[in-house]
């Protein structure tokens, strides 16, 4: 078959996987197309910190040889992916976008890195991110700032900024992001792609540079829900190297995607997400209301629910995150503070000034929030909301406290550990993407994915690609 590079780079993982399996497409040809596209476009997007052309082509040739021998590893075999630059990669520089780790070369892969490699994927490179995964693009961090493919003057969200930009612009087929308060779902929403924060404990954090141990999650970012299910399948499961890793059985995440959603109950906490807070964008709310109507038209019952403690999550989450971040970084903050970017240095230092009473109170509030969500989820199947309170802001308006001052619609689910996904649900009049957030019961990723898949197949926003 003959396909242009643009066509190849617009394939979904599922589509490419089927062509590869039938030997109608070569992993070498596919990888070459992505490397060429990175070469052509990444100077604009700055999504990559490190590109690995020789390694990627060698892996692609090996994958091709395996497939020709009939040794097919599965739906990720021969699929070009990229990793946020805090996933350890053996022998490959892993910087967390910080001068502190500028020359750090891990001796071991993160568990997720190893699992994706075992699944046969091809690593194209390491992606830009906000320094140490703390929200906010900081021009003083010493690393490139990824840009939003839908409008280069706007941020792609963060902290998995390069992952959002690269997947949206067709510079890789899928990526892993990490999420402490919304760093997977945020860039997914801002870049019109899919991002899943799985249940806490579902995906190993071993070998991933931490920000906040009790809030950090790892998860996939892809063009479609179907592809997210495929990537999750490869990385989910118990890891003895991660003390918080769950032994819960791993289901087949693709098996129930296509079941309909008739009869499901969707809870909507309008009191929080639709409040009259002037920082919440009304166009975003109208777009999500339209998406809720689509879900209702597809047979789901939509009802309002109340989670009283949601209004305090925005205060508790940073107290936990910054306290734990300070604990991890304190030695370097004392010995080489100048190596940190200005934004991160200030926020990490602030974490050191918070008190144990602050941390304990925040953790106690976390328990209340978790219990309230559990109670709501006894009566509804999923909780739906906007992913972000407003569209991606322009770089020119972002300063150190921009993310901290904005109402967080994603952070509450880092507090509870529930699975939550962002799926594209439309665009503002200015052409900026809007995301729909769907959260579910712990370890009920299959239902979260099913609702997202059903919506995506009906709304079909994935058919619209950015013109970079």
């Amino acid at each position: 078959m003959t396909q242009t590079h643009t066509e190849l780079c617009s394939l979904t993982i599922r589509e490419a996987g089927q062509l590869l399996k039938r030997r109608e497409l070569s992993p070498v040809e596919l990888t070459r197309a992505f490397l060429d596209r990175i070469e052509a476009l990444d100077s604009k997007l700055q999504a990559y910190i490190t590109v690995l052309p020789q390694r990627a082509m060698a892996t692609a040739r090996a994958a091709e040889a395996e497939m020709l021998r009939g040794d097919y590893r599965g739906p990720l075999h021969g699929i070009p992916i990229a990793l946020k630059d805090l996933y350890d990669t053996r022998g490959i520089r892993t910087t967390a976008s910080s001068r502190v780790m500028a020359d750090r070369i891990p001796k071991e892969d993160a568990t997720t890195t190893a699992r994706l490699e075992a699944a046969g994927s091809i690593l194209l490179g390491k992606l830009a991110m906000h320094e140490f995964a703390l929200g906010g693009p900081d021009p003083t961090c010493g690393f490139p700032l990824a840009r939003n493919p839908w409008n280069l003057a706007h941020i792609p969200g963060g902290s998995s900024s390069g992952s959002g930009a690269a997947v949206a612009a067709g510079l890789c087929m899928g990526s892993l992001g990490s999420c402490t308060g919304g760093s997977i779902r945020g860039p997914a929403a801002y870049c019109s792609i899919v991002g899943l924060k799985p249940t806490y404990g579902r995906v190993s954090r071993y070998g991933v540079v931490p920000l906040s141990w009790s809030l950090d999650h790892c998860g996939p970012m892809t063009w479609t829900v179907e592809d997210t299910a495929l990537m999750l399948q490869a990385i989910a499961g118990h890891d003895p190297k991660d003390p918080t890793s769950s032994r819960a059985p791993v289901p087949d995440y693709s098996a129930t995607l296509k079941e309909d959603i008739t009869g499901l109950t969707i809870g909507v906490p309008r009191h929080f997400f639709w409040s009259d807070d002037p920082r919440i964008d009304r166009e975003t709310l109208a777009t999500v209301d339209a998406a809720l109507q689509v879900l209702a038209d597809l047979g789901a019952r939509v009802e309002e629910v109340t989670v009283p403690t949601l209004q305090y999550a925005g205060a508790a989450q940073p107290a936990i995150m910054l306290s734990e971040a300070f604990a991890y970084h304190q030695r370097l903050l004392r010995s080489q503070p100048e190596e940190f970017g200005d934004m991160v240095r200030a926020r990490f230092r602030t974490g050191g000034l918070l008190s144990s009473a602050d941390y304990v109170q925040a953790q106690r509030l976390r328990n209340v929030l978790k219990r309230e969500c559990a109670q709501v989820l006894q009566n509804v199947d999923v909780i739906v909301s906007p992913t972000m309170s407003s569209p991606a802001p322009p770089f020119a308006t972002v300063e150190a406290m921009t993310t901290a001052r904005r109402p967080s619609f994603t952070g509450p689910y880092n507090m509870t550990g529930m699975p939550a996904i962002s799926v594209p649900c439309g665009f503002t009049a200015a052409g900026l993407p809007v995301g729909l957030q769907i959260a579910g019961k712990p370890f009920d990723e299959p239902l979260v994915l099913r609702v997202a898949y059903t919506y995506q197949q009906h709304a079909r926003w994935f058919e619209k690609r950015p013109q970079v």
């Binding site: 249940t199 806490y200 404990g201 579902r202 009790s214 918080t244 890793s245 769950s246 032994r247 819960a248 305090y312 925005g314 205060a315 508790a316 940073p318 107290a319 910054l322 300070f326 304190q330 903050l333 004392r334 200030a346 926020r347 230092r349 602030t350 050191g352 000034l353 918070l354 008190s355 009473a357 602050d358 304990v360 109170q361 925040a362 953790q363 106690r364 509030l365 976390r366 328990n367 209340v368 978790k370 219990r371 559990a374 989820l377 006894q378 150190a400 406290m401 901290a404 001052r405 509870t416 550990g417 019961k441 712990p442």
Partner: protein, 67 residues
């Protein structure tokens, strides 16, 4: 320690030194608005009556819906 104008720089210096951070007056001045922002959020949290609510120190991966 903090009043309507927020924390004093002297109090902030003591807090910083307690965790091993030796910050210059300029650095303290730079950090103060951020600290005051979070301190106000903490004040809201401490005003809440959480009764005998337990501490979620360890997050259970096997989160119990009935719990």
């Amino acid at each position: 320690m903090a009043d309507a104008e927020g924390i004093t720089l002297d109090d902030m210096r003591v807090l910083a030194e307690r965790v091993g951070l030796c910050l210059t007056p300029a650095e303290l001045e730079h950090l103060k608005p951020m600290f005051d922002f979070y301190a106000e959020q903490m004040r809201v949290l401490h005003d809440l009556d959480l009764a005998a609510e337990d501490l979620a120190v360890a997050f259970s991966p096997n989160w119990d819906l009935q719990g």
